[in-house]
């Protein structure tokens, strides 16, 4: 070690050269600094939730992480001019090369059942040409729950355009292009707002950089004042800050060389390093001046290093231990911060010893500016405070002890109040522009977060799988986090309604295969089905809930999914068990869709109707026959026949018991082929209408019994009465299905869940590292254990403070305990070391007084400096950083409090109880 110190003093220029070179190199890399605060990147990619979430992007083009929402606010959207403008803006965005898809009011699909058939058309098929038409459109859309309040604002003034980008697109550039196109097209007075995960991340990045640029000089200024007070010379003021700044530059530079990005919390790094690392420079310079005063410039650097290298190293190691413990956290911002901060402390230590040593060797002071003599400070406020403290500790032990216990208990009482919260509002603060942006979209268009249910099966076209999707969707709709479902199954429900007149999933796969053509036509649906057609996603809007509500809803949703049948087989209704299984399914579904009768009653009614053939519902009633002819209207008119006359023919055929074809041949003189053809068509229509009548009879009976109407959505369950097969759970069944929930709110919940466990893990590790280093330094298990007490109390009470002040546990506050342990343990080390040194030659009272007045003074000044620097973060625009800085500073001051009071009492007690020699000395001194 001695050789190293001498080498530094003899070869200052290579060291300074390397320092300058590395600094320039890392400064050059600073231009690459980028921030990425996407919550889906908080957890490692191999985390099951994250890897599943990421896998969806590869499977479903509709699952677009690369996307942006454009909101346009008009005085009134429903004018021909503004709707035309909206259409043109959407088309112009779509023509951008990076844009994969655009969904706007003007091109959203809707299924419309017409008198003749089905239309899959755009909601705004033809743009209104007059204000009256625009008003009519407005009234029509007001009734559309999926559009009004979601795509269009409740006041009809604003609307959104959803834009998705190709995977290969540079998202930030693509968003910029979209914004440019929109702003070029819309006139002044139309408010344009863009929203998306990338916009939030970019905005956070800009803010974080602004923070670094603004807060670092302010923290430097605060430290300058403190250092000026301590040194009263330029070198003493400037150099510790320069060292700390260089440590920050080196750290950021290394991170950039490693290709890492920063999160918002990393923006606090330079300020924190300024506070923590400047102390090393202060130690070196302080000691240098002492050595210079003692023996002049001869080997002053070597002597200085001999005195400070180990203390600085030990201090750095304990601080690094605290930070490195954060590496055990599987939450990226936390582990990254731990790594960067530990690196910064290491660089600070190296710079404060090697580089400062080299600098003083190359540029020795010409005239020593004496450090303010400690004796001269004896009458200042600090001295008086410490004197009062030592007096109280020595003469009012019980009072102090009671005070300590009461304060500790009071603070710890806040611990149960701690909660986890990772919302944008909590991170950025209520007044932050990002929070306001999020609030704007939430208030005007509902939530902007989505949850997804991924359905995996062998065959997506299987009626059982599609029906399960409908059932699950219906169940989940009760939760705030699963609103406004959008799925393949709901699209097929609409299509079947247009084809057959009822909103149900048919039990014949052939029908679903026919409907699949419309699915193939829909870009929106294709984006939600995997290439192999074995997986699909159901999309839900996630309403605003607390983390606790989200967790509860998720648990219930997962429990429901866990209880759904996963492997079934299709069986014909020719056995009692099969019929029972169908009855049970229909009863369960009717109750799920709103039937409020007792299950037994519903079961009786369902069993009764299941036994009735559809032929029982064929009548000769004119209204029934009118429904039949209306069902066959296309074919009747195609043959040039009159609907009413055909209806009369039908009535005669039923009355006479002859075939429709025969009756048509007689009444209209059709050739036999044409008559047979239309007869078959009418027979099919008759069956369809009779089946519908059967279900309506069931509906009427249920409605009458329960005294309230059943909504259209109940069609799904009611029409199962027409099923000719049942699905029964069977381990050998050939129909399998599996479900999994994901989405940004789910990831957020996962992060929340991990925060507590990671907090505990990193804290235990920090304690272990620090305790090991204490053992090394104090060489005694008892002494090391005593030295740990103040930091244990500090950590415990810091959680209490978080609870009392409603500071939630999040990625920033999670780190405070580990930082407190790493940085705060220094105080215990220095205090204990001085105590044991003093107690070797003095009485307990003298030793305590000396320790408090000398080492205590250093600790207090250092803590005030560090806390002052950390409190600067309270000036940040980002709420999370404000809280983080304030909490770090408060906790460090708490550390000083417990070191001065709890450790003093314990050391004194140890001396009082244990060591006979020390006791004798104390008695003799009295």
């Amino acid at each position: 070690m001695e050789r190293l110190f001498r080498w530094i003093e003899r070869h200052p220029w290579p060291i300074l050269g390397i320092t300058v070179f590395l600094t320039l190199l890392f400064l050059w890399k600073l231009r690459d600094v980028r921030f990425d605060d996407d919550i889906t990147k908080y957890l490692p990619e191999d985390d099951p939730e994250i890897s599943f979430y990421n896998s969806l992007e590869e499977k479903f083009s509709g699952f677009q992480k690369k996307s942006v929402i454009v909101a346009l606010e008009f005085d009134d959207l429903f004018t021909p001019e503004n709707l035309l403008l909206l259409q043109r803006v959407a088309e112009s965005i779509k023509s951008l090369p990076a844009v994969q898809g655009v969904t706007a009011l003007t091109n959203m699909p809707e299924i419309v059942a017409t008198e003749y058939g089905v239309e899959v058309r755009e909601i705004v098929e033809a743009l209104p040409t007059s204000i009256e038409e625009a008003r009519d459109l407005r009234e029509r859309l007001k009734a559309n729950d999926l559009v009004w309040g979601k795509i269009i604002t409740p006041d009809g003034k604003g609307t959104v355009i959803f834009v998705s980008f190709f995977d290969t697109a540079d998202q930030s550039k693509a968003i910029h292009d979209v914004e440019r196109v929109v702003r070029e097209m819309v006139p002044q007075g139309v408010q344009v707002t863009l929203f998306g995960a990338r916009i939030i991340v970019d905005e956070m990045s800009k803010d974080a950089q602004r923070n670094m640029r603004f807060l670092t000089p302010v923290a430097g200024g605060v430290l300058l004042v403190i250092l000026f007070w301590g040194f009263r010379n330029i070198r003493g003021m400037i150099l510790p800050i320069v060292i700390a700044l260089l440590a920050a530059v080196w750290t950021i530079g290394v991170a950039m060389f490693l290709g890492k990005s920063f999160t918002v919390i990393s923006a606090s790094l330079p300020v924190l390093l300024l506070s923590l690392v400047s102390a090393y420079g202060v130690h070196f310079i302080n000691r240098y001046h002492e050595e210079y005063a003692l023996a002049g410039n001869t080997q002053a650097v070597t002597r200085t290093l001999r005195g400070v290298f180990l203390p600085i190293l030990m201090s750095a190691l304990t601080t690094m231990g605290g930070f490195l413990s954060l590496l055990s956290a599987a939450i990226r911002p936390v582990s990254d911060f731990g790594l960067y901060a530990a690196l910064g402390v290491l660089f600070g230590m190296v710079l404060a010893t090697f580089s400062l040593g080299a600098l003083y060797a190359a540029f020795p002071v010409r005239q020593n500016t004496p450090n303010k003599n400690p004796q001269g400070k004896q009458r200042d406020y600090f001295h008086r405070f410490l004197l009062f403290l030592s007096h109280s500790l020595l003469h009012r032990k019980r009072t102090v002890l009671v005070f300590l216990v009461v304060v500790t208990l009071l603070l710890c009482a806040g611990i149960p109040r701690i909660r986890v919260e990772t919302t944008i509002r909590m991170q950025m603060g209520e007044e932050h522009p990002i929070t306001k942006l999020v609030e704007y979209f939430k208030n005007r268009f509902g939530s902007t977060d989505y949850n997804y249910l991924c359905v995996t099966t062998e065959n997506l076209k299987d009626p059982f799988v599609l029906r399960e999707m409908v059932r699950i969707t219906q169940y989940l709709k009760r939760f705030h986090n699963f609103q406004d479902p959008s799925s393949l199954a709901s699209f097929l429900l609409d299509l079947n309604e247009a084809m057959e007149g009822w909103r149900a999933i048919p039990d014949e796969e052939e029908k679903i295969q026919n409907l699949w053509f419309f699915v193939k036509d829909s870009e929106y649906l294709q984006g939600r089905i995997s290439e192999d057609e074995r997986e699909t996603i159901i999309e839900f809007r996630a309403g605003e809930t607390t983390s606790a509500e989200l967790k509860k809803e998720l648990e219930e949703a997962r429990e429901f999914l866990a209880n759904r049948p996963k492997r079934v087989k299709k069986v014909p209704l020719d056995s009692a068990p099969a019929r029972d299984a169908l009855v049970k399914m229909i009863v369960d579904d009717l109750i799920l869709f709103g039937v409020s009768l007792p299950p037994n009653t519903v079961q009786e009614i369902v069993s009764e109707f299941l036994g009735k053939p559809w032929q029982d519902f064929v009548t000769q009633d004119p209204s029934f026959l009118a429904k039949v002819t209306r069902d066959a209207q296309l074919e009747i008119e195609d043959l040039g026949l009159d609907m009413e006359v055909v209806q009369e023919t039908l009535a005669r055929a039923l009355a006479r018991g002859i075939s429709f074809g025969e009756a048509l041949e007689e009444d209209f003189g059709l050739d036999s082929e044409s008559a047979s053809y239309l007869g078959e068509v009418l027979a099919i229509s008759l069956e369809r209408v009779a089946k519908r009548e059967k279900v309506e009879a069931l509906r009427s009976k249920l409605e009458k019994l329960q005294g309230k109407e059943l909504g259209k959505e109940c069609d799904f369950a009611l029409y199962e009465i027409l099923d000719e097969v049942a699905y029964v759970e069977d381990k050998e069944g050939d129909i399998t299905v599996a479900y999994r929930i994901t989405g940004t709110p789910i990831i957020s919940n996962r992060v929340n869940e991990m925060l507590f466990s990671q907090q505990a893990k990193s804290m235990i590790l920090a304690f272990a590292i620090v305790f090991g280093l204490l053992l090394l330094q104090l060489a005694s298990l008892r002494r090391a254990s005593i030295a740990m007490v103040p930091i244990l109390l500090t950590v415990a009470t810091s959680f209490g403070i978080m609870g009392w002040f409603e500071i939630p546990l999040n990625v920033a506050t999670l780190m405070v305990a580990s930082i407190a342990i790493g940085a705060g343990i220094d105080y215990a080390i220095h205090f204990s070391a001085r105590w044991y040194k003093e107690i070797a030659t003095n009485s307990g009272s003298q030793a305590l007084r000396a320790t408090l007045l000398n080492t205590g003074r250093g600790i207090l000044l250092n803590a005030l400096g560090v806390a002052g620097g950390s409190y600067v973060m309270a000036l940040s625009r980002i709420h999370m950083l404000r809280i983080f800085g304030s909490l770090v500073a408060t906790v460090l001051l708490l550390g000083v409090f417990y070191t001065f009071i709890a450790l003093s009492l314990l050391l004194h007690l140890e001396e009082y109880l244990g060591n006979e020699n020390l006791k004798k000395r104390e008695v003799s001194s009295l």
């Binding site: 084809m499 036509d521 074919e635 099919i684």
Partner: protein, 253 residues
């Protein structure tokens, strides 16, 4: 579903024409356009192959009947023959889609349907309505002859409309038979987007060209669609009421 019809229109559009000796870009395009077969009725049997990003192929066999209704109007019946899950699904388009009917065999029902966005892809293929319906005439494109070699002309077409999805097209036209062998579609930023290639043709006795096989690859999404006609019959006798709702309900056309 209207998109079935668009597939038909593509085949119609791609049928051949006659020889000329034009050399300017516009004259070359006019000649390509002029080589359309004249017919009253036509029956085409063929298949559509969809190839996804992973290379998985899906083949659909189809039969298509067309009738020239005059006034540049065409009626079409399009039916899928395979695979089993789509077999029998039939589309009837009357007079360029004035009315479009769909027969779904599982429902035993004909329904009138409406169309969809012109710029969207149809039936999971890589063609959009615009790709199929648009000619490459002077109304829509500025054309320039970029060069030529022994076998081909190389034309650059620039859309006149500012809202076109494409920035430019590079078309390779066969010098002898005047059909385009290849078209490269570039987006507004100049990146290659789609490549259309003609793989197989038949030259009729009158010199007109029938394209039997072509492919369109979406380079951005790595999808491809191949269309292949195995037989084309023209001027076949069809009953007067063939293009009707009743016909498309028959098991055999």
């Amino acid at each position: 579903m209207k998109r079935f019809l668009l597939v038909c229109l593509l085949f119609v559009f791609l049928l051949g024409g006659r020889n000329v000796f034009a050399l300017t870009a516009q004259e070359i395009l006019d000649e390509v356009e002029a080589r359309r077969t004249q017919f009253t009725t036509q029956k085409t049997v063929g298949k559509i192959i969809l190839i996804d990003a992973s290379g998985k192929e899906e083949t659909r066999e189809m039969v298509m009947y067309l009738k020239d209704e005059g006034d540049d109007k065409t009626s079409v019946i399009f039916r899928f023959l395979s695979p089993a899950d789509v077999k029998g699904v039939t589309l009837l388009s009357l007079r360029n889609g004035e009315k479009i009917y769909l027969y779904m065999p599982a429902y035993k029902k004909v329904r009138l349907i409406a169309g969809s966005s012109k710029s969207e892809k149809f039936m999971g293929t890589d063609f959009s309505y615009d790709d199929l319906s648009a000619g490459y005439g002077k109304e829509d494109y500025e054309s320039a002859l970029q060069g030529e070699d022994e076998a081909n002309y190389y034309l650059e077409l620039t859309p006149k409309k500012s809202d076109s999805k494409y920035g430019r097209l590079i078309m390779v036209v066969d010098k002898e038979k005047f059909y385009f062998k290849k078209i490269e579609f570039f987006d507004a930023s100049g990146n290659l987007w789609k490549v259309l290639e003609v793989h197989e043709i038949r030259e009729k006795e009158d010199g007109s060209i029938q394209i039997l096989k072509l492919s369109l690859k979406d380079v951005k999404e790595n999808h491809a669609t191949i269309m292949e006609a195995s037989s084309i019959e023209e001027d076949i006798p069809l009953p007067e009421d063939f293009f009707s709702v009743r016909t498309i309900q028959r098991p055999t056309l």
